[in-house]
Symmetry: C2
Subunit: 478 residues, 2 copies
């Protein structure tokens, strides 16, 4: 028995121990290579083997999720060494718990017969998730090694697109008939040799397997034995179609406090079961993905991936950022004449751009949240736009005046101070406008409004901010 | 019976219908005020009442979570009108489903007797969550109106700090003795009049209520009646102490695919139960909070809150942003002499600042994720820092060269192009350095590394970026 928190501290120290052992072992191996004396060699190879044995014992004793945690915390080389020490029976369970990029790097170490062997051990839906990123022809060859029932199940899961409920559901479903009694229901459950893990409810169907309701286990236990199942089941359960999006399912799980729900085909026949643990994994991953995609990193990244591949992933958005910065630079370039006359403009212009970008980012964060919660539509948007513009007006007037006063103190020029205040106000209004419209437009064109938002937003607030400030200054001052 | 997705589409159209009804009703009321003719008045007040009745029926028929969704989607005025039409028995359930700021605005509409009445209806932990944001003396007065058992329970929940497992746990626990048989266990469950909602497992304890294990309901059903509970229970369940953090609990739920877990006091006695639905709600809210706090918005915000209060919330970070921008501006100001001689510097300097900020933000997003997953410690950090600096070197050399070439084409000056390329490289290295160290430092000082990260990060990359570029240019060119 363990408290999670104590346990977690232990886990971090396990990670440290594993790393120490690996380092010691590597050290010994290096020594062995260098030494010529055969006696020392023997001693040291014994030492290395002893470390290895200790490590092996430690790794194979861990919960698969904990072993995954340790593996993810190791640099590439050490990770491979440790992975080779893991018992073959644990491969499947650990692979499932790894993050996608780390998993991909380890799956490629297994050959086809090994993968096929995993397929026989694991649940079909888990195995399908494991092999779906492999090349198509390799998948076919692996599938041909499975027995026909397993193959059919894995194929049917692979047929559902990623992100659909079908691709995430369990195939192992327990169904009872509505006209059975609770006693008969209990007997049916007892007859099954293997109940699905984490069974908390069963689907209730008619003779054509069409969904009629859901019966939770507590009702099955508490009710009188001769009651019919149809009389105590939940007749209006939430259910999903196989092609519903997992995103929407996650919202439903949260909103209605679901623990599990049946999945049906178009004929409303029960074909699978969606459990909260799969949904929780999905939500957690998704929330990390969001914070990464804001800066243009589309996928989860293995912290220990090689430099070249990590670096290249950032090119698209770095390039885009450079392009927008270049446009902003050309705007400034157009006013080089004004700037040579009054270099103070160059010093003040970054403030205008920065405050506009900040306003835009604050507004966009709220809008993106509203969109994600489906609380924003065309009519709301008008309201929100008016509100954000009003806030921009209020804060712009306030902070613009403050900054105008600073400018007056620094440069002693009232016209310059007035230009500064006006430009700040205008660029904060622009920031509010862009902050509302840019994510909304992306969303309604079916794109992810978070993706690269920090770059897309500052492009207009920078360029137009410079234009507003330098343009006003040229008109008023020069 | 409903599919969640169909249902969701209906929900959005319900929101639209409710808004239409409210608008029509408001229109009719305004007409009534304006018209003098008594006949018309009667017709129109009938109309208004008819709309109201229709609305009332629609609202009270919704699932509480759905009613909350509709209420959150309405502007302040309409929201209050709609709230007044909601049945009093539904108040508690709906309030629980509302986001914190909207809930706070509606709770204040209830007087103390109404709140106390809610306290009698609701579960203690839910009611505690509802009143914990109210002023202290009001809470005391409300508590004094509750019966003594309810009062004690609510008080004990309120005693746990927010964010602790104790503040989120259910108090209603079902425990069985390890030496009872499964049959006796089932009988015990049947004797209890009200089982907790969503019961999926029970805790197994000794006569002193000390936790020995956990028994899931499927094992209770499937096992032979004369087996003892101790023989089939999970003897090594994950459990939590009341003062463990919900964050850590959420990680454990995800990692070990938990559905529920017992909560114990320091004597390992079972005092509560933590269920996955509470954890899922917490994770979802947390992920939104993160994206907001990045731009310095600390709390969830009601999209329809008044302008003044929404605007003020943004002051702290706007002010901080202005301060950092001002520092950057003074750096530029120190080089006004160079800029008057070569205005091209003013045009090129935003590019250097921007690319540094972007590199910093990308790196920080990865580091923040690593910190959240507890995958980063002192030793890893060194590795990651080296890696990010290498990526910065690689990308900086590449994009710096590209931008240098552009500069050469635009301005025809090789020295200027060289300065540009060097400054870009240096500022990208700086971005990588700040992107790793800034969140790590905040984290190890016990602060939230996400809070305002977009502003804190760009402060050094802007100021030092300007310094590097303008300083190099002054040295080399002038």
């Amino acid at each position: 028995m363990r408290s999670e928190i104590e346990h977690h501290k232990n886990l971090e120290s396990t990670l440290r121990e594993v790393r120490d052992l690996l380092e010691r072992q590597a050290l010994v191996s290096r020594l062995v290579e260098r030494q010529e004396s055969p006696r020392q060699e023997i001693v040291q190879s014994l030492l290395a083997r002893q470390h290895e044995a200790e490590l092996e014992k430690k790794l194979n004793k861990l919960h698969p999720a904990d072993a995954a945690f340790v593996l993810e915390g190791l640099p590439q080389g050490q990770r491979l060494t440790a992975w080779r020490l893991v018992d073959r029976e644990l491969h499947g369970a650990i692979l499932l718990e790894l993050s996608a990029p780390v998993r991909a790097s380890l799956v490629t170490l297994l050959d086809e017969p090994q993968l096929a062997a995993l397929g026989q051990q694991m649940e079909s839906e888990d195995f399908a998730g494991l092999i779906q990123q492999l090349p198509q022809d390799m998948v076919s060859r692996i599938l041909s090694r499975l027995d026909s029932r397993e193959r059919t199940e894995v194929r049917s899961i692979l047929a559902f697109p990623a992100g659909s409920v079908g691709s995430l559901m369990q195939l192992d479903v327990v169904s009872l008939y509505a006209d059975s009694t609770l006693e008969q229901g209990i007997a049916t459950l007892r007859q099954r040799q293997n109940l699905p893990e984490q069974l908390t409810a069963v689907s209730v169907v008619d003779r054509n397997n069409v969904l009629l309701g859901v019966l939770t286990l507590d009702r099955l236990i508490v009710g009188a034995g001769d009651t019919t199942i149809g009389a105590v089941m939940n007749t209006a359960p939430v259910f999903f179609f196989t092609d519903d999006r997992v995103d929407d399912a996650a919202t439903a799980f949260e909103r209605y406090d679901l623990i599990s729900a049946p999945v049906v085909n178009l004929h409303r026949q029960v074909v699978g079961w969606l459990a909260v643990d799969a949904v929780l994994d999905y939500v957690k991953q998704d929330s990390f993905k969001q914070s990464l995609s804001q800066v243009g990193l589309s996928e989860d990244e293995d912290m220990f991936a090689p430099i070249w591949s990590s670096g290249r992933k950032r090119w698209v958005w770095l390039g885009l950022n450079l392009l927008t910065a270049f446009v902003a630079s050309r705007v400034v370039g157009a006013f080089e004449g004004s700037i040579s006359q009054l270099a103070a403009l160059a010093a003040l212009m970054p403030i205008v751009a920065s405050i506009g970008g900040n306003t835009g980012n604050q507004t966009a964060a709220l809008v993106i949240r509203g969109l994600a919660l489906a609380k924003l539509d065309g009519r709301n948007l008008q309201f929100l736009l008016r509100k954000e513009l009003s806030i921009g007006l209020m804060n712009g007037a306030l902070w613009g005046a403050a900054m105008g006063a600073c400018t007056l103190l620094l440069y002693g020029s009232l016209p310059l101070a007035a230009v500064m205040a006006a430009a700040m106000l205008l660029n904060m209004l622009l920031g509010a406008l862009v902050g509302v419209l840019c994510p909304a437009a992306l969303h309604w064109r079916g794109r992810d409004p978070v993706m690269g938002s920090s770059i897309l937003l500052t492009a207009p607030t920078d360029s137009l901010g410079f234009l507003i400030f330098l343009g006003l200054a040229t008109l008023v001052l020069l």
